[in-house]
């Protein structure tokens, strides 16, 4: 379905010294800076999977997506998607893929979305009956029936993103590339987008490649994660394995009504709040239940919780200390 071998993309930009003199000097003297956005990247994604591409800003996620879709040309290496070389931009290939970008729009800004959808219908030669059925189905799922005839510039970001998704799925692509589809959205809108993608995938089984900085997206949708750091693949595997990347300890936090004895927690790398009424510890799976029972028995616990999104913590730690990946 998607296969890359030693894929590389370099971008060349220029350094400019600040101020007018720097601008004048840049007329004849420019220092070229080559950035390796993607380096010797190998990947294989079979049909029907939802794969999350994770990494900090500038890691190369979007560059990869653009090479997968044929928007930009790789500097070297091989990429094959659905048996096509994306940059050949074969029309059949383009009919089989869709790309949604959270920061760009394919809908015309100054007209209602329905006019743009009709244009997309013409591009993909969708029959009247299919168009009507798909628009009705997706509009209902996304709850946007009333928004189709309103000028796009009048819509909220969340509403626009729902319509972007509709526009991208109208031709029923076999692969859907989602580049930060929930960026900037409120929690309700994020949930709506995630639920829609989940139910769309359950119904039509497209392959989905998702990039997002929101770990809730990844947790809710992806079965497999690919981590990119500095253009290189640093991890590729199931989400459960990623959660155990830096050890299998669970993170538990307790809130107390009165300050407990700190010595009791010392064995578990405790992190105390300033007022001493909250502690966070890392504890092995085996020790978790007996230790929690002891704490509940011995201290006045007002609340306690186990970590909801371990991948968020792991991502944060890896972004701050990428060298941890070398120690694996």
């Amino acid at each position: 379905m998607i296969k890359t071998q030693q894929l590389v993309k370099n971008f060349v930009s220029y350094k400019k010294k600040p101020g007018i003199m720097g601008s004048i000097e840049s007329l004849w003297k420019r220092e070229a800076v080559t950035k390796n956005a993607v380096e010797r990247f190998d990947l294989e994604i079979p049909s029907g999977q939802i794969v999350g591409l994770l990494g900090p800003n500038g890691a190369g996620k979007t560059t990869l997506m653009k090479m997968f879709t044929g928007i930009i040309v790789p500097s070297s290496g091989e990429v094959e998607v659905l048996g096509h070389k994306p940059f050949d931009r074969d029309k059949d290939f383009r009919r089989k893929i869709a790309l949604v970008m959270g920061q760009k729009s394919q809908l015309w800004w100054d007209i209602p979305a329905m006019d743009s959808l009709h244009l997309i219908k013409a591009y993909y030669e969708i029959s009247d009956a299919d168009f009507k059925e798909r628009v009705e189905l997706m509009a209902e799922l996304l709850n946007v029936e009333e928004l189709l005839h309103i000028h796009v510039r009048r819509l909220s970001l969340g509403e626009r993103m729902k319509l972007e998704l509709m526009a991208s799925l109208l031709h029923k692509p076999e692969i859907l590339f989602l580049d930060e589809p929930t960026i900037g959205l409120d929690l309700i809108a994020q949930d709506a987008i995630r639920d829609f993608i989940k139910s769309y995938h359950a119904k039509y089984k497209p392959t989905v490649i998702l990039t997002s900085h929101y770990m809730q997206d990844v947790q809710a949708l992806c079965s497999r994660l690919v981590l990119i750091m500095g253009g290189k693949k640093s991890f590729d595997g199931p989400i459960g394995e990623f959660e155990r990347l830096l050890g299998s300890d669970k993170i538990v936090s307790f809130n107390f009504s009165s300050e407990p004895s700190r010595d009791f927690f010392n064995a578990f790398q405790p992190k105390w709040s300033d007022n001493g009424l909250q502690v966070e510890i890392a504890i092995s799976k085996e020790e978790l239940c007996p230790f929690c029972a002891k704490v509940l028995e011995q201290f006045e616990v007002s609340d306690f919780q186990t970590e909801k999104l371990p991948i968020e913590r792991i991502m944060k730690e890896l972004m701050m200390r990428p060298e941890l990946l070398n120690d694996r």
């Binding site: 931009r89 009919r95 007209i111």
Partner: protein, 263 residues
């Protein structure tokens, strides 16, 4: 669906989306119509002022020159209607990475690149220019064959102008910033608004061959006024093919240069 039908259906939707967009801003629509009308009046007014001092300019009398000016204005207006907005949008689309979606659509990317945006507000100007063109044609006592050839010659002129400007606009894939490129386009348009015989020497040769903007109006009208002057028209037709291949070749290089934009 066959290819031509497919492209025509897409074009029908370009017209629909551009119309919807243009009519969303009624005052802007009105202002463009007024500015176009002023341009028409000032161009023809300048010619009237000139002819209040002289009888002829080169071999042409007042009605012939006014017919030429109306012909060129018609080429301008049709180009404004069908293509020009795309040249203006290209630079920002390139810099902001908005061509991503153009490259994803299952059609030849040059088609949406240069035909996606129509300037519907130019319709009024097209109509008034055509009326004036017919008026000056009547004053020149055109015969039936001349009237029949006029739309074809207009189409040829429009084709050459658009192909030259597409080739120039594609340079934006190398320069990224399009202000300079658009300035060159506008200057060449100004040059082409006068008949070839007012230019002399090397400049004239270059403007008839290398950047053949003088052919756009002069070639069709020299032929229309005198069927024996067909040589320039033949050159115009040949250059249409040449520029078609220039555009295609440049496009092959241009699409490799597209690097989108960071998001």
């Amino acid at each position: 669906m066959n290819t031509i039908k497919h492209y025509l259906e897409i074009y029908r939707n370009f017209v629909a989306t551009s119309t919807a967009e243009a009519l969303s801003f009624r005052l802007n629509f009105l202002m463009i119509t007024i500015v176009d009308t002023f341009f028409l009046i000032s161009t023809l007014g300048s010619a009237y002022v000139l002819f209040s001092h002289v009888e002829t300019i080169g071999p042409w009398n007042r009605d012939q020159l006014l017919f030429f000016l109306c012909f060129m204005l018609a080429v301008d207006d049709f180009q404004n209607l069908f293509v020009t907005n795309n040249f203006w949008m290209l630079s920002s689309d390139l810099k902001e990475g908005n061509l991503d979606y153009v490259f994803l659509k299952p059609v030849k990317s040059l088609f949406p690149l240069f035909f996606k945006y129509l300037r519907i507000a130019s319709l009024g100007s097209v109509v008034s220019t055509i009326i004036l063109l017919i008026y000056f044609g009547l004053r020149l006592d055109f015969e039936l064959l001349q009237w029949a050839l006029l739309p074809l010659l207009l189409l040829l002129a429009l084709t050459l102008r658009s192909l030259i400007e597409m080739a120039i606009a594609l340079l934006m894939f190398w320069t990224t910033e399009g202000t300079g490129i658009n300035f060159i386009r506008l200057q060449l348009q100004s040059v082409s608004r006068w008949p070839d015989f007012i230019y002399k020497g090397l400049a004239k040769k270059a403007l008839l061959t290398l950047v053949p903007v003088l052919l756009i109006g002069s070639a069709p009208l020299r032929f229309l006024f005198d069927f024996e002057q067909w040589q320039m028209l033949a050159l115009l037709i040949v250059l249409c093919f040449v520029f078609f291949f220039v555009v295609r070749t440049m496009w092959t290089g241009a699409k490799y240069r597209y690097e989108s934009a960071s998001s």
